[in-house]
Symmetry: C2
């Protein structure tokens, strides 16, 4: 199994027809979710919050192609209808069905397509690699690759699938991420762990700095492998979410390179986070990475507008990692060898490490380069 | 005269040799300035703040090609040296010379080039259209066009030249803007007016959301046309800065269209400003404008993450202006005619008007579309 179907108690299925896809995932257990903080959130977010409140979820239905966002009361009714449809076809309580959508904003759901797709998928749910790939494929929009992650820890597992490529920005839940574990954990602990892990993984991915209306990260614990210590579950969940987060960054719209920014020595974690995200959001840093142009001054300039107080002449900056690490600035002194720096920008992953001398705060953020491809994809999205 | 040389008491000159340019502007008077708030500001910003503190300026020297930013004590000494050089060649007190730089960050000044260029320009300062064009040309980096503005109000004038095309973002002074008026006004009033006007003009231009290390907007009042009432001077200064701000947006790196976002009915001006800037900063809005794709949901989504509380179902949104205005959302109801909306996106200027029903706050922000050209320009900037 690639990921979620390795978790005891999870069955999945999906269908994708051109722009329109639908995934169903069946898994009973305690549930937790984190959501977009966009003021214009989709009605399904409100519905999902309500469903999650009970602490239990039995299944999830998710469609792609239409975000059912900015659709008001009609959109809310449509989301409820999706939950009822899934509940009926799966023979479970619609109150325990989570609903998620992704796609164009400001369009109403096409119930005909969704009903047909749901009725086609529901009878075919399975615990198989093929089934989970169908589900992961079904929720893709501009994604080029499926995103799966699986963390195994002796007797329990944490796994997830997700989608996300554009309109990816910090301070949100994420795009759609469906996480499963067969560990037994109560809903409030799961919520606490998911929130903590999300802050350090999904919330640190930036593709373009735009926060979606529909972001959801959802975790269901089926409990089939028995009680697991919180201290064991959190790192496993963290590892799984980190893998998915990096997959989102690497598959950013039009991206050719994954950018990883590691900040150490900041006044606190929040400051480190702000600096790492400012750098990874900067279009000037992103285009320089694309062009393999070692214009490191843009990295320093981006750190400077992150809203954090620090002494710019006590920082160190390097590019690359391990043996390939090339120093650019050493405690305020410019030490860069431009041709070596350029070399360190080749390859699929570019790592910047920024060390401040202000405290012990650290954070890592992920993003991708900005290319002509991003412009092309987003210049003609609805037409 | 196109602009600054129409102001009594102003003489200018400049030279541009490939990437390297130098402008000199001679004008004695009361002076005010606003500056970048980037934590990593260039040494010349610190020097300029010191010179401005006296309330008097006699000349400005500005170079392009090297920003002399992130250059520490050596950079500060280089900036001081530039001021002394200009003072000596112009025969004035170096304490009253402002110094500005723009270009690559993290490189030291090439004193040989600057000295040669300064000695060549200083003897040729004039009050002529040709001279001011040389100065405007000299400070250009990736700018494609010179930027001039002139506002005449009966007996007094306000004029300015500026440069700016990339690394343009809110919450700063601006890029380099040199403003002149022959009105007589004391330095503290001038500072107050410049700060107020900057907040509504330069600070509302976004090209890419990156805040420069070197932004300066400087205004010198020669006083040669006599005392002018504050209430008359502010709108004239505002008109002039607004024109320059729009010219920066229209000449954004790789831009094909100017975007204007007008927000009305926000809780207050600060909220209107936040929403207008979020929209104009959004890469998804910018690429949609480039592709003439009426994907208006992105505009609403961007408003939603601006950090302002508002009821999304009481907003109205339109595209275009005057007879060409096409409604997209009317008090929460989707009313868009997509083919008409697409038509309203043709042409060199695209206007979005967003009306909330929360209060009387209003603000206008300017930006430009995001194109393959931006990616190309910034992928190979230093190489």
């Amino acid at each position: 199994m690639r990921s979620i179907c390795a978790v005891e108690g999870v069955r999945a299925g999906g269908i994708k027809e051109r722009k329109y896809g639908l995934a169903l995932i069946r898994a009973e257990g305690t549930a937790a979710g984190v959501f977009t903080s966009n003021r214009v959130r989709a009605p399904c977010i409100d519905l999902m919050k309500k469903q999650i409140a009970s602490g239990t979820l039995e299944a999830v239905i998710a469609n792609s192609g239409c975000a059912n966002a900015y659709t008001g009361p009609r959109g809310y009714t449509d989301a409820e209808w999706m939950g009822i449809l899934a509940g009926e076809t799966l023979g479970i309580d619609p109150e325990h069905v989570g609903v998620a959508s992704t796609g164009v904003i400001g369009r109403y759901l096409d119930r005909l397509i969704i009903e047909r797709q749901c009725r086609s998928v529901a009878p075919r749910l399975e615990r198989s690699e093929n089934a989970e790939e169908q589900a992961a494929q079904a929720i893709m929009t501009t994604d080029l690759v499926q995103k799966h992650a699986l963390t195994e820890r002796g007797r329990f597992r944490v796994a997830g699938i997700c989608k996300g490529s554009g309109m990816i920005a910090p301070r949100m839940g994420t795009m759609l991420a469906f996480l499963y574990t067969d560990a037994e954990v109560d809903a409030s602990t799961l919520q606490k762990l998911l929130r903590r892990v999300t802050r350090r993984t999904f919330n640190r991915v930036v593709v373009d700095g735009d926060m979606s209306t529909n972001d959801i990260a959802l975790c269901t614990a089926t409990g089939e492998s028995g009680r697991v210590n919180e201290g064991n579950l959190e790192p496993a969940l963290g590892e799984c979410c980190r893998s998915l987060a990096m997959q989102i960054a690497a598959d950013g719209e039009g991206a050719t390179k994954l950018i990883e920014v590691r900040v150490h020595g900041a006044p606190d974690e929040e400051s480190a986070d702000a600096i790492a995200r400012a750098i990874v959001t900067s279009p000037l840093v992103k285009t320089a990475v694309y062009g393999e142009d070692p214009n490191w001054g843009r990295v320093v300039a981006a750190a400077g507008f992150a809203g954090v107080e620090f002494d710019p002449y006590r920082i160190s900056l390097s590019i690359g990692e391990e043996e390939g690490k090339v120093p650019l600035v050493d405690r305020g002194a410019i030490v860069v060898d431009l041709s070596k720096a350029k070399q360190a920008m080749q390859g699929k992953q570019v790592v910047f490490e920024l060390v401040l001398e202000e405290g012990s705060g650290q954070a890592t953020a992920w993003g991708c380069d900005l290319t002509e491809g991003y412009v092309k994809i987003n210049g003609r999205y609805t037409t």
